[in-house]
Subunit: 265 residues, 2 copies
């Protein structure tokens, strides 16, 4: 049996969760519009983590018939220190416009235009939660990104793009790879760090990965009723791999709480 190098994200998440100061009573609010089974799971994860950190947690549910101005009025009235819009929201809502309703100082998810503008200019005081998770893993593995190759597979708004900007800020050489890329395998194989957020099971196979690389799987999709990532498990025979589920997810939640503390201090 081969040794599998699965990075223990849960253990790191527990450790990081314990580091969160509890001297201030803080409150996290999550806004949900409409119904979504997967969202319920994610919201519950955030709730559990918030409770472990002794924070208050409010779950605000709205029907998909709520008018936009009423939604905004309500969001502005919530007293929580941090507010999150749980994505996805129903198609009849303009996603970015709704994300922009979160006041900057409460935007612990870093998805409003103001936060993203500051992310672009390197002037954001917190990290987007997924990037915070990537950062925790990299720091734990004592990796210095400067001059290293970071391959971002799937340049989406939630995972790929912020990770790409993070790589630039760390002076990494960044490759952005999507479904149209020629020679995908050979390019990904040059990477010291691979971050994938596509949502296609089995997309990343062992022959695409350099021995000893770090592979962070931030893709999620459902296969046979189970949540799975983008990366085949056998990759862990030659590289360090974060699992799905129980990988980037729990660390992302801790990063969210980090952001709540940083913004309130």
């Amino acid at each position: 049996m081969k040794r599998m190098m699965i990075f223990n994200c849960k253990q790191l998440a527990e450790k990081e969760l314990k580091k969160i100061p509890k001297d201030k009573p803080l409150s996290l609010g999550i806004i949900q519009i409409g119904k979504d089974d997967v969202s319920d799971i994610f919201i519950n994860e955030k709730k559990k983590a918030a409770q472990k950190a002794d924070f208050s947690f409010n779950h605000y549910k709205f029907p998909e018939t709520i008018p936009l101005d009423e939604l905004e009025r309500q969001i502005k009235s919530f007293p929580d220190d941090g507010l999150i819009i749980q994505l996805p929201i129903p198609d009849n809502f303009p996603t970015q416009e709704v994300l922009n309703m979160i006041p900057f100082e409460k935007d612990v998810d870093c998805l409003s235009e103001t936060s993203l503008g500051k992310l672009y200019t390197d002037e954001l005081d917190i990290l987007p939660p997924v990037v915070g998770a990537v950062d925790k893993i990299i720091k734990n593995k004592k990796i210095e990104l400067k001059g290293k190759v970071l391959a971002v597979v799937g340049p989406g708004r939630l995972v790929g793009k912020p990770t790409l900007l993070y790589g630039l800020s760390k002076k990494a050489t960044v490759f952005s790879i999507d479904e149209n890329t020629e020679n995908k395998k050979e390019l990904i194989k040059r990477a010291d760090l691979v971050v994938t957020g596509v949502g296609r099971p089995g997309l990343i196979t062992p022959e695409m990965i350099k021995k000893g690389a770090l592979v962070i799987d931030a893709g999620t999709s459902k296969k046979n009723g189970k949540i799975v990532g983008d990366v085949r498990e056998e990759v862990a025979e030659k590289a360090t791999l974060t699992p799905v589920p129980g990988g980037v997810g729990p660390l992302t939640v801790v990063s969210l709480l980090d952001n709540l503390v940083k913004r309130s201090s």
Copy 2:
């Protein structure tokens, strides 16, 4: 003598300038803080282009002793349809904070946080002027970026980063290359489009470039008293090259005027 493939940016700029509608009296204002010889040249280029398009042009000069709040009060009072902060501004000013003083609807340079947030989310209605120049060149050459390799050399705020996001929006495979990148030559040689904005004369040599590629030189530095780009002229023997000066510069100015028109319509 070898045939040199120098892309005629000036001719394209003249053609594009003629396309700008003149049915509305528009006004462009440029704000200059302190003194800078190179800035004077660039401001003059913008003034000449604005006048060719029959737009009004205001040049607002401030001493480097102006208090920040007074600067903001003045900027908010200017009646122009588009406003630009001429960069660089003196070191004692917080550059981004000053750029954020430009109201979004007048921010034809796309450098305020609000504009950059929208650029990130692909919801900006105009292109950052340098990207507008790149876009005009690509369209003129009838290049479809999807699946092509774009190498961005120098991931800076004014050229590299916006070009990188533009490449992503066009579904290109993007490489971000900086001074720490290993195998620079081999990576750049894979690119169908190279955009460089480093400011180091002679950085890009012919052996780094694929035959038939398009090389857009957006680097500017001074060498022996002359403005020069990043790319050696011999590159034009095997690839299409935009010259410096008289390359991206004039097209960037036209893109600025495009933005002024789009925002005012």
